[in-house]
């Protein structure tokens, strides 16, 4: 049990990215988690932040019906034509 004052919600929220990256040093991590133990609002904030990162990644990830890595034939021809036109005459 420590009598040290808790870090504030503002400090905890500032540290969230480092906490999730695992780059918080051990003592800061302990203080971060001690605050979480007494602050449901910060627990909710942390969880919603984590969820936001996952939702952002999922929103832009290709879906099964998205065009695959094949290159449309017309596109290959169009790019080749543009590259040939750009080529300086030798």
């Amino acid at each position: 049990m420590t009598n040290q004052p808790y870090i504030t919600c503002r400090q905890l929220i500032d540290f969230i990215a480092d906490y999730l990256d695992g780059t918080l040093e051990a003592s800061a991590r302990r203080e971060f988690e001690r605050h979480l133990g007494v602050c449901p609002s910060c627990v909710a904030y942390l969880e919603s932040y984590r969820r936001t990162v996952a939702l952002g990644k999922a929103a832009l990830k290709p879906t099964e019906d998205a065009p695959g890595p094949e290159v449309p034939a017309g596109f290959v021809a169009a790019v080749k034509r543009a590259l040939v036109e750009q080529k300086p005459a030798t």
């Binding site: 503002r10 919603s48 969820r51 936001t52 990162v53 929103a59 290709p62 290159v71 596109f75 080749k80």
Partner: protein
Amino acid sequence: MSGTLPSVEATPDGAVEGLVARLRRGDEAAYEELVRLTGGRLLAVARRMLGGEDDAQDAVQETYLSAIKSLDRFDERSQMSTWLHRICVNACLMRLRTRRRRPERSMDDLLPQFVEDGHQRTPTRAWKPEASAGIEAEELRALVREKIEELPAAYREVLMLRDIEELDTEQTAEMLGLTPAAVKTRLHRARQALRTLLEPTFAGGRE
């Protein structure tokens, strides 16, 4: 992750590297091979960043034109696919910046507010797993994309490069001309702002 760019890592780089000398000679068949080998991955990047297929194809075409034009600056110790990926991300960023946009929202309104003693001004409500249960997966993805679009451009770019393209902090900093510390700060703020924009959907009724 460091050094590699996942969006193109599956490209058969050996085959691509063998093309460099031929590309430098202006070999037209080599142009075609380059597009066949790397185009799919670059199109995927551009589709993620720009959304529409036409815009994505234009950005990738621009990527090849710019790459071939500056081929003498390509350092053969690096990977051609990595180099192309960077050019492509830059081409997409330029397009995003020139799109006509509505006035940007103030970041101050999207970041958490605190009272003097450092407590949150309004306690955060827990997000309910069931809040999004009735939303189809594709509808949910569209809603999140719409909210990402609402972020001020300087923050949206960092979010896209770090969380979506999975570039590391240093790569993102170099690409955007920022310090690594500024990238970390902007990424954190962008995620916080996106969280605020998503909150009405997940912490209560839908907007």
